[in-house]
Structures are given as C-alpha cells and as structure tokens.
C-alpha cells in the first residue's frame, strides 16, 4: 500500500477542473430560468425618494423590475457578527434607507443576462443625499462590548509603563492598512428555483449549512424543503460564507416571477454587495532590554466597522500570543464609517496586525543592533504570554532556522543600502507568521465496501483548498484503499454536518470526523470478525484489535486487512457517522455549529494554546529609475502539525504567500471621499499580482507532531501563508533603502528618492 498521508497526491478533482466539467454554481441552468440584475445606489447615505421603472419595463426581454415596494416575500436574516447567518446586519430594499454606496435598490429580471443588465441601467432612481464618510476616524474609536474587559478586548498584564521605562530601546509606531476586497475569480452568483414550497439554491458557498439554516428559518420552512448546492467554489477567501442580500433578493425575485432566476453579480458590484477587509490602524509600543528581551508590549488595533454593526476580528488576541513579555497591554477598538459590513478576508486580522507587529520588531532589532532572527529567538516562548498555558507545539525557531538555510540569510548585508545589483537596490527581510488552530465540531459519513471502495459524505466545501482530495486520502489511509477508490461528496447542505470553511479549520475538524468514522468502522468490524468461527482474528478480544492503516491487528501479531474483513461479514460493507468533538468544545459551541453557525473553540483551551507557526524571508528589489518594488525571491518554512497532502498544502501555503505579496505591494480599494464610494471597483485597477510578479517561491514544510489539537495532528494552513509576508517585504525595503514604510500597500510613490 503506497503512503497516502504526508505525501504528494494529485487532486482527485483535477480532471474535472482541467476539462471544464467542474460545475460551479453559475454553470447550472434550471429549466425555464430567467436572469437577474441588480441596480445599486449611486449615493452612500440618504433616502430613495422615487424609482421610475417604466423605461426598464419597456426594454425588450425584461420580465419584471422589483423595488422595495414591489418585491414580494423578501426575507432577511441577522448578521454574522450579531450571531446570525447574514453577511450584513443591515438589509437593503426593506425600505428607502441608503446606508452605503452601491447598495442594491432594485432588482431586474429578464430573459437574458444582457437584457437584465440593460434593464438595470434604465431604472431611474431619485435620492435625497446626506453626508457620509467612507473612512473611519481613528480618533473616534471605541472598545467592543459593554465591560472594560469584554472577552479580552482590553487586556493588561504587568506594568506597561514600567516596562517601557526600563527598556534599553523602545519603538512607538503606527501602521495603517487599507480596505481590501477578496476578489475571488468566480463572480458572486445565486440561482434560486421554487417548486411550491420547496426551494433549491445554487450558490458558491463556504457554508452550505449556514445558507440552508438561515434561508429555511427566514421563510419558516423545514430545512428538508431547502436544498443548497455548491459542489465547486471558484475561490472564496471569506467572501462566500454568509447569506448575502443578493441571495435573498434572488430567492424573492424567483418567487415573484414564478420562474427560476440566476443572478451573477458584476465585478464592480462585488465591491459593495458583500464583505471586505476593513481598513485598520495598528499602534505598537515595544520596549526591550539590551539583550533584546521584551520588557513592554502594547498593541492597540482600531478597525473600521459600519454604522450599523460591530465587525470585530480581534487581532490583539493573536499578537499578544507571539512573544514572551512580562508587561503587556492590548486594546481592540473599532471606529465607524459609511460602508456595508466588512467581514473576514483571508487571515482576517493577522495580515494587518502582523504587518504592524513584525515591522515594529524589525525596527526594534535595528535599534538594538541585533539580527532580526535573533530578536525573535530571545523572545520565543513555549508558554502563552498572557494565558498561562503551554503551546501544544510551537516550532517558530525551527522555522526560522530552516528558512534561513534555504534563503541564505547569512548573505544579508549588515548595513542599510549595502546590496545592489545593476540598476536595482536589494534588501532582505524576514518576519514571523502564526495562525490559531481553531476547533469546530464536525460529522462525516463513511461507507466502506469490501469490494474495495469507500464513500465519504459531509457538508464540507472545497474552495480550492484540496478538501475533496484530503478527505479521500484520510479515508484511503485508514481503510487501506487507493485514493481513487474513495468517492467524496460535499457541498450540499443535506449531507452530515461539517463546519464553515473558514478560519483554516476544515482539514483539522472535518478531517478528524472522517478519521473517526474509519476508526468506528474498524471497531464494528473487529466485533463482527472476532465473533466468527474462521479468520485470522477469530476469537480475539475485539477491544484488543487495533486499526493500523488498512489493517486490523490483534495483540499477538494476527492481522487481517480491513477490505478482507469487510468481505467476510454478511453485509459486505459498513456505514457509520464519525464525529469530531474536541474536549474544548462546549455544548453551546457544538450547538452553534449544528445550527449553521461558527462554534469555534481555541486557540486557547484550559490545557494548551494551539497555533501553527512559520517564518518568511524575502528578497526585495527596487529599481533605480522606475522605483518599482519587486520580490524576486520569497522563502518560508512552516510547521503546522501533520501534512496531509504535500502537494495541495504546498499550493495553499504558496498561495497565501502570494496573497501576502499582494497585500504588501498591490492591493488597495481606493476611495472617493466626497461621495464615499469605492473607486477602483474592478480587477484592472484593483491590482492583484499577475504571473510576472511572482518569481521564486519556496516553501519548507517542517515535520511537527501535535497529539492535542485533534486525532490527525493537523493544524490549519489556509491562512498562515499570508501572515508574515507584508512585514517581511517592508523590512526588506527598509534594508534596501532605509525607508520604514508603515502603510499598505507599499508602492512606487513610497520609495522615490532612493
């Protein structure tokens, strides 16, 4: 049996993806389907005073034009950050209120997509406009929650001022990060078909069960009456988790016209009808003694939130886990502005906060005259700095050592501006990455057949992460099958409960449920075959039979393969539901997940703090004449427990690092301040890297064993790749130029005169 875990396995869905037969939501066309189009508001704040739909209704092919006054049976749900399934807690088209630019104000249904869009162009909306501001005022911020110390939003340990006073060197720096949009390549879409009281929704989703639970609840339907289908998702990165207004509008419109309706949200509309990464300010004060040991650590994060909700992705909870320090103060603050709800976008706080933290650490290293890697080494800790529990595993310095070796860190020039190559200034930079290991409850159904097959079914998702493949690998490894003998069905709400695909949790949580199902199959098999009159394990105490990847082993060396054992039992197959219930999961958290929510435990439990760690090193080049900033090399090393699939894991980590380059050098949602609009709402002027931007990317995947996090020993890897990159690049720019850049993205105009 070839090894199936911790090896390189080609994606099981690769053939479908390279032949164009992988079906994304908008590829489904129910019979008689019509096309929807959104009309979005031209103003940011105010009221709709009139909507003239006559021209749109006269347009050939237009079937219906719905406004807040005419859309029948439109339902809304509570927002995610208020404990509901919605992408926002403010719902458009319930009335005349306009709370953000680009808010849906009308919905056109037509026979073709072109006719629907043209109809949308012809809807004439009149507004009464009020003043607004798209940017937060950081000076007008507040702490989330009622109490001084709600859920650790403000945390004080030791005496910060004393720590600063005793420090040999201090840094006091403020960083800013911009609005960013996920921009998955697949445009948002929703297709809704009603048949009587039964509803089917095709929609790319990171949580089909959140959708079904929320939609069924909103319409007062049993969940069995609602199907949500999302077998393939063309990238999500946090943008496709909640129930969006455009989905509920489409469901209502389909009911209104009595025919299935598909809406494809336009690329510009994608900037306003769903979530985004809120802008932020990161304030750091660090102090260290002459040896570099931190004496003071302060981080105040101020993140943007809309007028109507409190979007908090607490970054200070993660930064304060990073380095040993006796005196710590952190505050998690929000400031409001006139936008739709932000949300979670890949490493939802870690991208911003680690740009700040790791840039500040670099500045501290220069002030101390220390190698920045050594500064991390002296502050490494095996105990969580504020929670007083050990890390379940922490391979930070192993990561630094591996990446230093791979990158050639010892070749780094000691002085600023000391490295050049032709017309290019060269700089090296490094930074730490971490990501919490979040824990969610999950189930999975596995049916193993003695004919040499297995079926795995669960309501998880493959958003490009390789989930189809790793679920098959886990079952294949445990049952002793080739990967291609395992069929995996996911992306439907009817399947056994699996969590939201977010927070780097699916492999760890849902994968552990698949693992558990296989163990249960082995236990049932052991009971059955030990009671049989013949066979190698006949008469063996079943409690002493263990599963050893495809083989059942007795205490005295007797063994039989799982497949042979399955052939012996009369059914020839066993089907079970496996579960993952980590001890840290409370009943309340399990209930949350099972009702479509995000019932996450961790990263800190009463016993351990659970994080993945890594280190990144980059070479940056800045051109003497064009001042273009390029990254010819980026290396990293990560330790994240067990690697399930070295091929897809490498792709995820590499993709995360490329996202980091993107955040560092490219991505910003620009704004028009007078009219409070996102300005570059397209994918030409909202820059993301093209192929030519990405050169040498190297990822070291370190071995690490962690028996506490889950039975597979898996930590999540979907997000950690992005975390250290922006700071590593900023630090390399400093090394090349002596310019300390504190705002993302870092662009040509920031490095002039160098």
């Amino acid at each position: 049996m070839a090894q199936t875990i911790n090896t390189e396995v080609t994606r099981t869905d690769a053939r479908r993806k390279v032949t164009g037969t992988a079906t994304y939501a908008a590829d489904e066309t129910p019979s008689g389907m019509l096309h929807g189009a959104l009309v979005c508001s031209a103003i940011a704040v105010g009221q709709v005073t009139a909507i003239d739909t006559s021209a749109a209704e006269s347009e050939p092919g237009v079937v219906a034009v719905f406004t807040h006054e005419t859309l029948p049976d439109y339902k809304t749900v509570k927002g995610f950050y208020a404990g509901g399934p919605g992408s926002s807690s403010f719902w458009p088209m319930e009335g005349t209120d306009i709370r953000y630019a680009g808010q849906p104000v009308a919905y056109v249904v037509a026979e073709t997509a072109a006719a629907a869009r043209r109809g949308a162009d012809l809807v004439n909306v009149t507004y009464q406009e009020a003043d607004g501001s798209i940017h937060m005022d950081p000076e007008d911020s507040f702490v989330v929650g009622a109490g001084e110390d709600s859920e650790g939003m403000v945390l004080t340990k030791g005496d910060l001022q004393a720590g600063l006073d005793e420090a040999a060197q201090t840094v006091d720096m403020t960083f800013t990060t911009p609005f960013q949009h996920h921009n998955p390549m697949e445009m948002f879409s929703a297709t809704a078909e009603w048949r009587g009281d039964r509803l089917t929704v095709w929609m790319p989703s990171q949580s089909v069960r959140t959708l079904r639970h929320g939609i069924a609840g909103a319409y007062g339907l049993p969940e069995t009456s609602v199907r949500v289908i999302s077998p393939f998702v063309g990238g999500a990165f946090g943008s496709k988790a909640g129930i969006t207004p455009y989905a509920m509008l489409t469901i209502a419109a389909a009911k209104g016209v009595g025919a299935p309706v598909r809406l494809i949200v336009t690329r510009p509309q994608m900037y306003t009808v769903a979530t985004f990464r809120p802008e932020s300010r990161q304030q750091f004060r660090l102090g260290a003694d002459a040896q570099g040991r931190l004496t003071a650590f302060e981080h105040v994060e101020i993140a943007q939130t809309p007028q109507f909700g409190e979007i908090v992705n607490p970054g200070t909870h993660i930064t304060r886990a990073m380095y040993a320090c006796p005196n710590i103060h952190t505050e998690q603050r929000l400031a409001r502005s006139d936008t739709n709800s932000g949300g979670f976008m890949r490493a939802p706080n870690e991208m911003q906060t680690f740009f700040g933290l790791e840039s500040a650490m670099d500045e501290l290293a220069w002030k101390l005259g220390m190698d920045p890697v050594e500064l991390r080494r002296v502050n490494d800790t095996m105990t969580h700095p504020t929670e007083d529990v050990p890390f379940s595993s922490r391979s930070l310095m192993e990561s630094y050592d591996a990446v230093s070796n791979s990158f050639g860190w010892d070749q780094r020039g000691r002085e600023i501006g000391s490295m050049t190559d032709g017309d290019w200034l060269v700089g090296y930079g490094c930074a730490t990455a971490t990501y919490p290991t979040n824990i969610l409850a999950s189930n999975a159904r596995v049916r193993a057949q003695g004919t040499g097959n297995a079926y795995v079914e669960l309501a998880a998702h493959d958003v490009g992460t390789g989930t189809y493949t790793i679920m098959a690998q886990i079952a294949a490894a445990r049952l002793g099958l080739p990967v291609e003998a395992v069929d995996v069905v996911m992306g439907e709400a009817d399947l056994p409960v699996a969590p939201i695909s977010g927070g780097s949790t699916t492999a760890a949580s849902a994968g552990s449920a698949v693992h558990d199902a296989c163990v249960k199959i082995a236990q049932q098999l052991a009971t059955q075959i030990s009671g049989m009159s013949e066979g190698p394990l006949s008469g063996v105490d079943p409690s002493r039979i263990t599963l050893d990847d495809g083989t059942l082993r007795g205490p005295d060396g007797q063994s039989q393969s799982v497949m042979e054992a399955l052939q012996m039992i009369p059914e020839g197959e066993i089907e079970v539901v496996g579960t993952f219930r980590h001890p840290a999961l409370t009943d309340q958290l399990i209930k949350a997940t099972f009702s479509g929510g995000y019932g996450t435990a961790g990263p800190v439990t009463p016993e351990f703090a659970m994080f993945a760690f890594g280190a990144e090193m980059v070479e940056v080049r800045i051109h003497k004449y064009t001042h273009e900033i390029r990254v010819p090399r980026i290396h990293s090393a990560f330790a994240a427990g067990t690697w399930l699939n070295r091929k897809t894991a490498h792709s995820q980590l590499m993709g995360g690092m490329i996202w980091g380059i993107s955040s560092a050098l490219h991505e910003v949602t620009e704004t028009d301040k007078p009219r409070s609009r996102f300005l570059n709402a397209n994918i030409a002027e909202y820059l993301v890297p093209v192929n030519a931007d990405i050169r040498e990317v190297r990822v070291e995947m370190l071995e690490e064993q962690d028996d506490y996090v889950n039975p597979l020993g898996v930590k999540g890897i979907g997000e950690i790749g992005i975390v250290g990159t922006a700071a590593a690049i900023g630090n390399a720019i400093y090394h090349a130029t002596g310019k300390r850049l504190t705002a993302l993205p870092m662009t040509i105009s920031d490095v002039l005169s160098t």
Binding site: D672, K673, R675, L687, V690, T747, S749
Partner: protein, 332 residues
C-alpha cells in the same frame, strides 16, 4: 449594454458613410468599445465593424518609412523582428501594454484612440464628468482622488489622463496618420490628432464623424534604432503606467545629434518633451545630463494633490530610458 444595430461593410468608403450616421461608432478589436458599452459609458445606436477591411491589416517596414495599416494587431507588430530591429521602442510600447489576449485583437488604430481610465469617466454613478456628460462638472477636481490624473495638459474642466503607451512612441518620432472620411482622405501629424481637454473634454481628437484612421506612418530616422520605452508600474505586467518614457537617441561620437522623448502616464494627450530633447542636443549623454533632461521634462508640470509623485518618478524614468537606450547601443 444597450441594443445596437450592427453592420460589417467591406469597403472603406461604405464604412465611412455608415460611420458618419448619428449615434454610430466604429468597432475594430473592440477592447475599448465593448468594455465602455458594457459599463454604459458609450451607448451607440449602431456599430460599424471595420474588421472586414482586410487591406488595413497590412504593414511594412521600408527603408524610408514604416507604414502600419490601422487594423494591424498590436501583437503582430510587437513581435515582428523587423520592427524590433528598426524601432525597438515601438515594439516595447506595444508588448508592455495590456495582455496577450487583448493585444491579439486590439488594433493599432484603436489603440491610439483608446479612452481614459479616469474612474469618474468610467463609472456612470458619478453625475459629474465633463468628458462623459459635457457640462456636468469634474468629480476628480471636486475633491476626488487624483493620483492617476494628468499633470500635463489638464484643464479646469478635465484632468483625465491619456493612458496609452504606443502613442508615446509615435509622438516622439513624428508619426502621421492617414484618414478616410466622407470628405476624402487626409493626413494628420500624430501630434495634432489628439486635442487638449480645454473647455470641451468630450472632444478628444480632430477626427470628424465618419472619419476612419486607415494608416499610421513614421519616417525612418536614426534615433529609432537606439530607442527604448521604459514603463514604471506597480505591477510587473498588465498595468497602466504610473509614468513612462519613449526615447530614442542618435549619437555622433559622444555628442547627442538627435534625441526624442515622449512621456506617458502623465498627460492628457500623448506628450512630447521638446525642451528636454533640446537640453541634450549637441552635448554628451551622461547620467547627469539624462537626469537634467528628466527634470526639464517635468519643470512645467501642474500636479494635483495625489499626483505630485509623478514629477520625480517621471524625471527618473526619462533618465532611465535614456541611459538604457545608450547602454543598448553597445558596440554598434
């Protein structure tokens, strides 16, 4: 997209007649036209597809003149060894623009007539745009974001930037365009094709209704052979210029005999930097004189709040383009 009538004439005169009708636009590669129609910026009643005029795809690199039919594709010309050899900046200005897919359909004639990327022009949600809706005002100048706007040639009515690359190679090297309109054929110096926004930014060229660009021609001059197009952008490819420069040099020993400089990413129209050229003629080309030429090129710039960085960047790009062109002369 608004519904429109479509025709595909097979002669230039038919095309010109069709295109002269009110509400009619010409389409060739369509990469600008279809884009702007989709976002509602252009709403023609009729499109005249001129891609049937196959004669206009021809081009030649002659001893005295380069002639490009208006329908020659960007990719074809960019990749032609004769073009690369005779006039590298022209090839550079083509392949450093857009993407391979766009260059495969975009024509040279369409390229020179491409429209601004000003976000206020491209989003009909903004009521103010004098270019899109004459007399409505300018959202960019009304407190808007101006980091991507013109620092040369703007007016109180419009500061939109001309986004093209190819045009810089043309304007620096005395190109001419030939047109065919209802009134017949005429020749227009490329430098006169585009007009400054002034009070009427919706008028971008001197072309009359129905007038079709049929050919772009350049006289062969020695500075072409030692030419380079440098383009600074925040993304390595598939991005508009933050600043760019098309340059060419002809040396007489250590002395500059002829030099051509045009600036991209900074002006309302294709923009030749004549004063910078003059500063170099008759003298040596060194890092110092190249940088001085860059400074001179931008001495009359009128930056807006967000675009001041383009002065320093643009000057450096001019210097870099000149020094690169010089270094590439090598042993020739």
């Amino acid at each position: 997209m608004k519904r429109f009538a479509y025709s595909r004439p097979t002669s230039v005169s038919d095309a010109s007649d069709d295109a002269a009708e009110d509400g009619t636009q010409i389409i060739a590669g369509g990469t600008t036209m279809v884009d702007l129609m989709k976002i509602g910026v252009l709403e023609p009643e009729a499109l005249v597809d001129i891609t049937g005029l196959r004669d206009l795809e021809r081009y030649e690199v002659g001893a005295d003149r380069m002639r490009f039919g208006a329908l020659a594709k960007m990719s074809t010309v960019a990749d032609d060894p004769a073009v690369i050899d005779a006039f590298p900046a022209l090839s550079d200005s083509l392949w450093k623009a857009a993407s391979p897919q766009l260059r495969n359909v975009a024509t040279l004639g369409g390229n020179i007539l491409q429209r601004t990327r000003c976000p206020y022009f491209r989003d009909t949600a903004y009521a103010q745009c004098n270019k899109r809706n004459p007399g409505s005002g300018c959202a960019a100048l009304d407190g808007g974001e101006t980091g991507m706007h013109a620092i040369f040639g703007g007016s109180d009515a419009c500061v939109a930037m001309y986004p093209g690359d190819f045009a810089q190679a043309l304007v620096a090297f005395d190109a001419e365009v030939t047109t065919r309109g209802p009134g017949g054929t005429r020749s227009i110096p490329f430098a006169d094709l585009h007009v400054l926004p002034g009070d009427d930014p919706h008028i971008e060229t001197v072309l009359e209704p129905g007038e079709i660009v049929t050919e772009i021609a350049l006289p062969m001059i020695p500075a072409m052979r030692n030419s380079f197009y440098m383009k600074a952008r925040n993304r390595e490819s598939y991005a508009f210029a933050a600043a760019s420069a098309a340059v060419g040099i002809e040396m007489d020993g250590d002395t500059v005999r002829d030099v051509r400089i045009a600036l991209g990413g900074v002006a309302a129209t294709p923009w030749r930097a004549t004063a910078a050229e003059e500063s170099l003629k008759g003298g040596p080309l060194t890092e110092e004189t190249a940088r001085e030429a860059g400074r001179i090129a931008f001495q009359d710039a009128e930056p807006l709040e967000g675009s001041a960085y383009k002065i320093e960047l643009g000057a450096d790009v001019v210097a870099g383009a000149l020094m690169t062109a010089k270094s590439r002369m090598g042993g020739e």
